[in-house]
Amino acid sequence: MPSTRDIRRRIKSVKSTAQITKAMQMVASAKMRKAQLAALAGRPYAALMNEVLAAATAGAGEFSHPLMEVRPVRKRALILITTDKGLCGALNTNLLREVARVDKGSVAYVCAGKKGAQFIARTKRELAAEFTYRDTPQFAEARAISRFAQELFLKGDVDAVDVAFTNFISTLAQKPEIRQLLPLGEIKAVSADVTGDSAAADLEAAKQEYLFEPAPGEVLGNLLPHYLNYQVYQFLQEAKASEHSARMVAMKNATDNAKQIIKDLTLEYNKLRQANITKELLEITTAQMAMG
């Protein structure tokens, strides 16, 4: 049987926990709004670029680019985009479970975010490089990651590059996804735009020969790397929007739970206090009666 003092102490500690989770919830919800807007604003660009690229590669005729080369896959690289910090529910766990599921050996990992790097170290997988990205992802950060992946691919160290990230669907739903980034040769069939819209239907009609100015090699030579950089940038933004949404929800749940516990404990405390008073009164009256 806990004493009233024990219960008081517990109420106090739960209260301070609730204060922290409440503060984190506020911070996350402010950041979430910004990150969500950024992720949603980037989608039309990503989708349009995908359309353009798909039409261009289909209409370029004989043209091929080293980044489009399809080789038999002996080794893959996986860009793993996770969060830096925890306390965001099952976000990272879900993503890493998905990664572990598709991992069939001979995968080199490129990590963005500390949680991913920790996972690679813990499970003794091969880490090719580790990158960081800020709360508001910068295009330069995405470019660094994407360039590194392109180099690996062009050198022939890996034959395919995938990206694992958490796609933002809504505040309450985020979906871990693995998308192929390289080689680009296979992308035109899928039209993998970030929104998952049905742009594929229009693409069939758009399969016509394009006139390139100045030359196909030059235009696509510039467009392809830019496309990859931007793709990674969009993935980073989706991941950030997911992270803040997940953290907001997780912290809201934590705050609600703490409030419930405080309510229960207060009830218990009052009951105990009352019982103690009754007991004392009884003792006094019995003592009086014995004396009298």
Binding site: P44, L48, V52, G59, Q208, Y210, E213, P214
Partner: protein, 135 residues
């Protein structure tokens, strides 16, 4: 009369999406005028001024470098910067230009240098477009 769907999209937002009669845009190899039923064309965009003609009225936009895809009924412009001429804040652009020029005096890494150079180009383009409209 046939129209063209002009779409101008930047990483931040969709800036312009309307049916227009014709588009004039700065390609890397010179200015291009595009009318409906143009043959499919893919080219690179240079920083400069896009002019969209819609029912006799001209709309001007300042754009950064990027890519253009033209099909018979659509012009898609992907660029890192786009702003309508009316929305350009001259003082702000001037300020940005001065800041970028000052930054260029410092020693910068190759990546950073490119970023600042791009920022400078953006502000210069905005200023050019704005001043030409007025003058």
């Amino acid at each position: 009369m046939a129209t063209l769907k002009l779409e101008i999209v930047t990483p931040e937002a969709k800036i312009y999406s309307e049916d227009v009669d014709s588009v004039t845009l700065p390609g890397v190899e010179g200015e291009l005028g595009i009318y409906p039923m143009h043959i499919p064309l893919m080219t690179q965009l240079a920083a400069g001024e896009v002019c969209a003609r819609k029912s006799g009225e001209d709309h001007f936009l300042a754009v950064g470098e990027g890519f253009v895809e033209v099909t018979g009924e659509r012009v898609a412009i992907l660029t890192d910067m786009a702003i309508k001429a009316d929305d350009i804040d001259e003082a702000k652009a001037e300020e940005a230009r001065r800041r970028a020029e000052a930054r260029l005096q410092d020693k910068l890494g190759a990546d950073e240098h490119a970023t600042v150079q791009a920022a400078l180009l953006h502000s210069l383009t905005q200023l050019n477009v704005k001043r030409r409209r007025r003058g």
